[in-house]
């Protein structure tokens, strides 16, 4: 599957840099939009819907973020999901190895495709982008 439009939602700017580099190094031709928290990402998504712009195909979502965390983003996302013209695949990418987080992710099985534990490897990215 080819992903043209990708959101990376993570408060860690170092992670933004790493993702950019990993994508480039692995020949994945995507230029993601980076967001530092869930609120910025959901607002952009809503705006895109309002303006009739195309929505992303894929979101890499962190859990622990300020203002609106990953879970809250997912709650908000659920509310606007039915307005989407195409499905968005969401992967959680978190440093949390906590069982509670992993089982919570399962409660969003309609929204979240998989849970990746950081550090993210080139292999992980290749799997996600099916390169």
């Amino acid at each position: 599957m080819k992903f043209n439009d990708v959101f990376v939602v993570d408060d860690d700017k170092v992670f933004h840099f790493i993702i950019k580099k990993l994508l480039m190094n692995n020949g994945i031709d995507v230029n993601p939009a980076f967001f530092e928290n869930g609120l910025l990402a959901i607002e952009r998504l809503k705006k895109k819907l309002e303006n009739g712009e195309s929505t992303p195909d894929l979101i890499l979502l962190d859990i622990n973020m300020p203002i609106l965390d990953g879970w809250q983003f997912l709650e908000e996302f659920k509310r606007i999901k039915n307005k989407l013209e195409k499905d968005i695949i969401i992967y959680i990418v978190s440093s949390s190895d906590d069982k509670a987080d992993k089982s919570k992710a399962k409660t969003f099985e309609d929204e979240v495709k998989n849970y990746y534990l950081k550090p993210m490897t080139a292999e992980d990215l290749r799997t996600i982008f099916a390169v």
Binding site: D12, K13, V14, F15, F17, I18, K21, L22, N25, L39, N64, P66, I67, D69, Q72, S95, S96, D97, D98, L117, K118, P119, M120, T121, A122
Partner: protein, 503 residues
């Protein structure tokens, strides 16, 4: 005209007849005679007396009542006869006698009194053995004394309500529990009920009614009652209706009161300890997750950045990656600092507590923040009394005041003059410090559960680090206190810090 009742012979016959008759009566019949100079003689006893008093023939010959009667009792009896008031017609006296086989017995003598023209007093009457009655009386007295003693020795009080007249008796202990004196009149049990804590009244009345309606075999209820000094005590009352009328309506109810304030306090302490232990446990668990998550996120970055250097050899990338390695390293250092701070708070078994003047510490903090306060034109309202002391760790107190005040300034509302109000009062015997601002407020419905969590920030503020409230909460709890928050978005936030100072 009255007819002469009988001639002399007839009188003799009737005398013999009566003597025979009297001798057949099983009752103990006697006649006593007291001479004007106080000498007592006993001209007549029926056979029953002789048998009952176990008198032998020999003894009978020179029969003297005093032989069988306990000496002290006989003297008393004699004294009573010698001092009969004038015109007495009836004489009653109790005495003890020691009988050869029956042993010690109690008797009651009841007789009619007649005084003849020579001032001889004659008494005709009967004796009754009242030993069993006396025994019962003594046993009752002992039991009453025992009960009285038990009541006085124990802390239990007793009450007795006459439901018909609404008259009520409260034992001295019941009164003492509420610090009332015997002269504090509690007329009617409604007056007593007035002393019940309003929150406990409904349950008490409900229990009482259930018993009145015969739905429960007795009534039992623990409630807070107001003492004379204005404090509440926990009183456990148990009661039972002991008399109902034919329609089942209660006529009389008796019960006990027990002061269980001490137990209740211990219970409360136990619950608090369990709560603290539970909180500590969950803090430790939370801490373990924080350590795992935060260290993982930094080490993850290191690994990913180093992988990048491995993959790419160009100088530009290496330089860039090194810059990010530095950022990550700094962040890791800061995380470790925070974790160290938390470990210090949470693992120190004994925290040094001092008696601190709250106002003095607040002024010190306000001094430190003077620049921020004047720059942001913050209005400070300090309502803390000058002489308000709390037991707390000095550096924690400073850190807590600093953190709440900084937050209130940092998250002030851009459209109004920032105001911070510091208040102090007692709530359920605990010292409360209230810090209220008119700032941005926090959406508690959304963030309430993790407001005090680590690395949670809720405002679009670049300075938000998300560690302050977490540290603050840990510091307060490590001192045995607690903190609550009330907030409305765009209205402001109120934090309440409960100190563990029992008043």
């Amino acid at each position: 005209m009255l007819r002469k009742p009988y001639d002399e012979k007839a009188k003799d016959i009737s005398g013999v007849f009566f003597k025979k008759l009297v001798s057949k009566i099983p009752d103990l019949i006697f006649q006593l005679s007291l001479s004007p100079n106080g000498e007592l003689s006993s001209p007549f006893f029926n056979k029953a007396v002789i048998q009952y008093f176990e008198l032998s023939r020999n003894e009978l010959r020179n029969f003297d009542l005093s032989q069988r009667i306990i000496e002290d009792d006989f003297l008393e009896l004699l004294h009573s006869l010698q001092n009969l008031p004038d015109n007495t017609t009836v004489w009653c006296h109790e005495f003890r006698a020691f009988l050869p086989t029956k042993g010690l017995r109690w008797f009651k003598a009841a007789a009619n009194v007649e005084v003849d023209q020579f001032s001889y007093t004659s008494l005709f009457g009967r004796l009754s053995d009242i030993t069993e009655e006396k025994q019962r009386e003594i046993e009752l007295k002992i039991s009453e004394e025992r009960f009285q003693f038990a009541m006085e020795a124990s802390s239990n009080g007793v009450w007795d309500i006459d439901m018909v007249t609404d008259k009520v008796f409260y034992s001295a202990q019941s009164m003492k529990m509420l610090e009332l004196e015997a002269m504090d009149i509690v007329d009617g049990h409604a007056r007593w009920d007035d002393l019940i804590h309003p929150d406990d009244l409904a349950e008490y009345q409900n229990q009482f009614q259930l018993h009145l309606d015969n739905k429960i075999p007795f009534y039992e209820n623990a409630k807070r009652m107001l003492t004379k000094s204005g404090n509440y005590k926990w009183i456990l009352s148990r009661g039972k209706i002991i008399k109902r009328d034919e329609n089942g309506n209660a006529l009389r109810i008796i019960g006990t009161d027990i002061d269980i304030t001490h137990q209740k306090e211990e219970e409360k302490k136990l619950v608090q300890s369990l709560q603290i232990i539970g909180e500590q446990n969950s803090r430790l668990l939370n801490f373990a997750h924080i350590v795992s998550h935060n260290l993982n996120s930094h080490t993850g970055n290191f690994k990913m950045l180093l992988d990048l250097i491995d993959e790419e050899n160009d100088e530009q990338t290496t330089k860039e990656v090194l810059g990010y390695l530095r950022t990550s390293s700094n962040a890791l250092n800061q995380t470790i600092e925070h974790l160290k701070e938390l470990v210090d708070i949470n693992t120190q078994m004994v925290h040094k507590k001092e008696n601190l003047n709250l106002n003095m510490y607040l002024n010190k903090v306000l001094d430190i923040l003077n620049n921020d306060i004047s720059k942001n034109k913050v209005k400070i309202f300090n309502k803390i009394p000058k002489e308000c002391y709390i037991d707390f760790n000095p550096s924690y107190l400073e850190s807590i005041l600093l953190n709440f005040t900084t937050n209130a300034i940092k998250y002030s509302h851009p459209e109004r003059v920032p105001e911070i109000m510091y208040n102090h009062y007692l709530e359920n015997g605990k010292v409360v410090l209230e810090i209220q601002d008119n700032g941005l407020g926090i959406d508690l419905a959304r963030h309430g559960d993790k407001l005090f969590g680590m690395y949670k920030t809720f405002h679009k503020n670049e300075n938000a680090r998300g560690i302050g409230l977490f540290i603050t909460k840990n510091q307060i709890e490590s001192m045995g206190g607690s903190v609550t928050v009330d907030s409305k978005t765009n209205k402001g936030t109120t934090f309440k810090i409960y100190f563990n100072n029992e008043i």
